[in-house]
């Protein structure tokens, strides 16, 4: 098993069907110093991408067409024991927090968010996963 991080720092995957959200999060995280930030608008690819790239953290949207965030977490559940990954859900449905935590999410931030809050949470979660 590969270590969760490499020389370039923790690997982060952003999953959102809206490209503007992806751009916003990518820029925010890059500015905060995270270099290995990847993204997809295709929820169906997430499990396979994780299998391949062993992310440390996935930033996951909930409301997406074809496959929602809960289904993504369900798919990830199968590979998570082999390839551990933290999941931070970002959703406009602020009432979904409890369900998200029950269904495999590790943390939750409502949209719209303050950028510093996102950075702080990501740091908190990645530090936890760090050796």
């Amino acid at each position: 098993m590969l270590p969760a991080t490499d020389a370039l720092g923790p690997r982060i995957l952003i999953v959102d069907d809206q490209r503007s959200n992806i751009r916003l999060l990518e820029q925010t995280l890059r500015r905060a110093g995270y270099a290995e930030v990847m993204s997809t608008v295709e929820p169906r690819e997430v499990a396979a991408l994780h299998q391949q790239n062993h992310y440390d953290l996935i930033l996951l949207d909930l409301q997406m067409p074809e496959m929602n965030g809960f289904q993504v977490m369900e798919e990830l559940q199968e590979t998570r024991s082999a390839n551990p990954v933290s999941i931070l859900v970002l959703s406009a449905d602020s009432t979904a927090r409890e369900t998200v935590l029950e269904k495999g999410g590790d943390s939750f931030i409502g949209k719209p968010f303050r950028l510093p809050d996102v950075v702080e949470r990501v740091q908190l979660m990645l530090k936890a996963a760090a050796p």
Partner: protein
């Protein structure tokens, strides 16, 4: 001489024959004695009556020896007096009279050989020789038992007759053959008010009877017996005169003209040749019975009328087979049948054919018969074929010996009520659905609005912190975008809050909240706004201590809303004062927020807590939807509190919130133990570290006091989840205590993040939460808490759990090393 001799012989023969007849008769005891009384002859009759054999007594005893000695003594005494000469109690007493030639027949009790006794009539004759000297006695006895009994029976009958005749409860009237009264007893006098002298030999009983009844009786008897009977005494006595037993009811008329019902028994009195010599009329006063009967009849009648006239309920009697036996107005109204059409028909007529086919009517009756009462509700058919929804109660009617006499069936027509209920239910469902739809709409709309708003606010934030930095003009524009954006988010959140509250989905975490700390937090949050607006803020001195029953986050939201309104809708250089007071009588704490704004007229005050009634916006153009107050009101009510406002135009308004006062957390007395800041780095050997993540200072203080009791544990604390996680990573505590409702990340998120960390994954984390519903506890345990404790803290449970967690940590520590 010869003729004389023949006569003598004939006489002797006759005497001999008579003697023989007597001596040999079994019906007479014949006992002959010598002159001293010693028995010489004891015939078969004597043997039978007395139980002795002749050999037992002849030459042995005298008749006195088989007589009652007391009676013999008494007889001797009586005769001594009667005859003036002393007579010995003994045989002399039995034979003395006879010895003097006096005829003597007397009653005497003979005693049998077996000791039993019987009354005898004894005739004693002296037997004399030719010279008239007494040579013996003959005692002829008959058993007097039967006669005695007959006499006793006669005496009893006489007593009974006397009793009847002298009783005041019976009128006994005896008449002659024509009916003229001959005897009129005390009972008759009392009942009828006449003295015997008023009526004796003057009138017949017909004259004290109701004449109409006498006429009617005469007519009826004429018909019945086929012979003309005169209205008069004949009508009263005719049947008796024919030997027919006759007891009839009749109205007697008293002397004073009043009347009473009597039951009269008539008997014909007859002479030896069965010729009627008169009549005996024995009467009893029947008033009481008549009265009771009439009352019963009246009761029955009015009850029947009542049942018949009830029109709201069908009250129907069924016979044991289920045929209709009675029918009231209500039954006619509900079912449409007239009594004539339905009486005698089977009650299954009212059931739908399907029900009849399935045997329901019979089943209903059987259930009523077996359990006494049976209730049913369902569709029944009217005469016109229409259906009605009926509630039916069957009651089995049984007689005193328990035999089924039939059923009372009470039916109500609930069709209308059902319709109304259905309509109401429908309306309620529609309203609920509409309300849900509205909540759903508001909720989903607020989500929909958030996504684009996220882009606006997100990129504006990026631009704000861009490098190279935006120009001052650009910066100003970005700030405008951000302010408007955050405000828009606030509105959306309020709408969502309202929708959540109205759909009943808002969960409250009610716990004792210390107002001191809460108000300090509010003050620091609101102070920047007040400064920007030039408003002076006054808060109560922190030495007043109040604890209220509230959701900490939500009450803060309410107070911030009231404070920011007071600042926004104030006059320039105005002031806002917050104050607290306790009402010990109502057990509530009142928090007031007083502003120096323009004040509100009464008609606007009424609208204040209604959604989308933004007041004052036309005055100063201030932002606001007014939803904030509506949400505040709902939130306060969910905390069992009240909210209100008083206002004076030109002076300002006072908004107030009342919350239930609650006892402050009882802090067990213990020495204060201060954890020095530098001790955070590493715990000395043997000292265990407990981290408590809690935003409510009151709870923190309580746990501090509890831990101060233990020398082996030091307590660290964090006021939110982020800091809690950071601190946990730094100091790696042995055990973590975690509140669930925390600002920022929740206790569950903090738990999950710590679980992901290699260094913190093993730390037992105990939840300590006011969310005490089983669902909350299950969710917590599912998330991975070591234990889940609910507030308020129960000290022993808390200490026990802490020990278990510490032991668990030690085990892990030992295993890890």
């Amino acid at each position: 001489m010869a003729a004389v001799e023949l006569r003598r012989k004939k006489a002797l023969l006759k005497t001999g024959a008579l003697q023989n007849a007597i001596l040999n008769s079994a019906n007479f005891s014949s006992i002959a004695t010598d002159e001293k009384g010693v028995i010489q002859l004891f015939n078969v009759g004597a043997e039978r009556m007395l139980g002795y054999a002749a050999a037992d007594v002849v030459d042995q005893i005298t008749p006195a020896d088989i007589s009652d000695p007391q009676e013999v003594i008494a007889r001797a005494a009586a005769l001594s007096v009667e005859l003036g000469t002393p007579i010995t109690p003994g045989f002399e007493a039995l034979a003395f009279k006879a010895s003097r030639g006096i005829e003597d027949i007397y009653e005497l009790t003979y005693i049998r050989k077996d000791g039993t006794r019987f009354p005898a009539i004894v005739s004693v004759t002296a037997l004399r020789d030719d010279r008239e000297a007494v040579i013996g006695y003959l005692l002829i006895g008959t058993d007097n038992t039967a006669r005695k009994e007959a006499e006793e029976a006669l005496a009893e009958a006489a007593a009974l007759q006397n009793a009847i005749f002298n009783s005041a409860n019976f009128s006994s009237i005896a008449t002659d053959a024509k009916g003229v009264i001959q005897v009129f007893n005390v009972g008759a006098e009392r009942m009828l008010g006449y003295a015997a002298t008023d009526v004796l030999n003057k009138i017949t009983p017909a004259e004290i009877s109701d004449p109409q009844e006498v006429i009617a009786r005469a007519a009826a008897l004429s018909l019945e017996l086929g012979t003309p009977i005169t209205p008069g005494f004949e009508a009263l006595a005719f049947k008796a005169s024919r030997g027919i037993e006759d007891i009839y009811e009749l109205t007697y008329i008293r002397k004073d003209g009043t009347r009473f019902p009597a039951v009269v028994s008539v008997t014909a009195l007859r002479d030896d040749r069965q010729a009627v010599i008169g009549y005996l009329l024995i009467g009893t006063d029947n008033s009481a019975r008549k009265h009771a009967e009439e009352k019963l009849r009246w009761t029955e009648g009015s009850f029947r009328l009542m049942v018949e006239s009830v029109s709201d309920y069908a009250i129907v009697m069924l016979d044991p087979e289920g045929r209709v036996a009675s029918w009231n107005t209500g039954a006619q109204r509900i079912k449409g049948y007239h009594a004539d059409e339905i009486l005698g028909r089977h009650f299954s007529t009212f059931y739908q054919p399907d029900d009849v086919a399935r045997g329901k009517p019979q089943r209903d009756l059987e259930q009523a018969a077996s359990s006494g009462r049976h209730e049913d509700e369902g569709w029944r058919i009217r005469k016109d074929g229409s259906l009605f929804w009926a509630n039916i109660v069957f009651t089995a009617i049984r007689d005193q010996s328990g035999n089924l006499r039939g059923f009372a069936k009470l039916t109500r027509d609930l069709t209308e009520r059902n319709k109304v209920e259905a309509t109401l239910k429908n309306a309620r469902a529609i309203a609920e659905k509409a309300n849900l739809a509205k909540s759903d709409f508001l909720s989903s709309m607020s989500h929909e609005l958030r996504s684009p708003l996220n882009a606006i606010l997100g990129f504006a934030q990026l631009m704000e912190s861009d490098s190279p930095a935006p120009t001052p003009a650009q910066g100003e524009s970005i700030i405008q975008i951000l302010n408007a954006g955050w405000y828009l988010l606030e509105l959306i959140n309020e709408i969502l809050d309202l929708a959540t509250i109205e759909s009943g989905k808002l969960s409250m975490s009610l716990e004792p909240v210390s107002l001191n700390e809460l108000l300090l937090e509010c003050h620091s949050m609101i102070e920047p706004l007040a400064q920007r607006r030039g408003i002076t803020m006054t808060f109560p001195r922190s030495d007043s201590v109040y604890t209220v029953h509230a959701d900490r986050t939500r009450i803060k939201q309410v107070l911030i809303n009231l404070l920011s309104n007071a600042i926004k809708y104030n006059t320039p250089k105005g002031s806002v004062a917050l104050d607290c007071s306790a009402n010990t009588a109502s057990g509530r704490v009142r928090i007031t927020v007083t502003d120096t704004g323009a004040g509100l007229p009464p008609e606007k005050l009424a609208q204040l807590f209604q959604p989308f009634n933004r007041l004052g916006q036309e005055v100063n153009g201030e932002e606001g939807t007014g939803i904030g107050l509506v949400v505040s009101k709902r939130l306060v009510e969910l905390m069992d509190g009240n909210i209100g406002v008083e206002s004076t135009i030109g002076t300002g308004s006072v908004f107030w919130v009342e919350l239930l006062s609650t006892a402050p957390l009882v802090l067990p007395a213990a020495e204060e133990k201060i954890v020095a800041a530098e001790s955070v780095a590493a715990a000395p050997d043997g000292l265990r570290t407990l981290l408590y993540v809690e935003d409510n200072p009151a709870n923190l203080q309580l746990v501090e006091r509890l831990i101060a009791r233990r020398n082996d544990v030091r307590l660290l604390s964090a006021v939110d989840g982020n800091r809690g996680v950071e601190l946990a990573r730094t100091v790696l505590p042995d055990v973590i205590l975690m509140d669930i409702n925390l600002p920022g990340i929740s206790g569950i998120e903090a738990l999950k993040i710590l679980r992901e960390g290699k260094t913190t994954a093993h730390i037992p984390i105990v939840a300590l939460s006011a969310n005490a519903m089983p669902r909350d506890i299950q969710r917590g345990m599912d998330a991975g808490f070591f234990r889940y404790l609910t507030k308020p803290i129960k000290v022993s449970e808390f200490m026990e759990t802490l020990n278990i967690a510490l032991a668990f940590a030690e085990e892990h520590h030992a295993a890890g090393n």
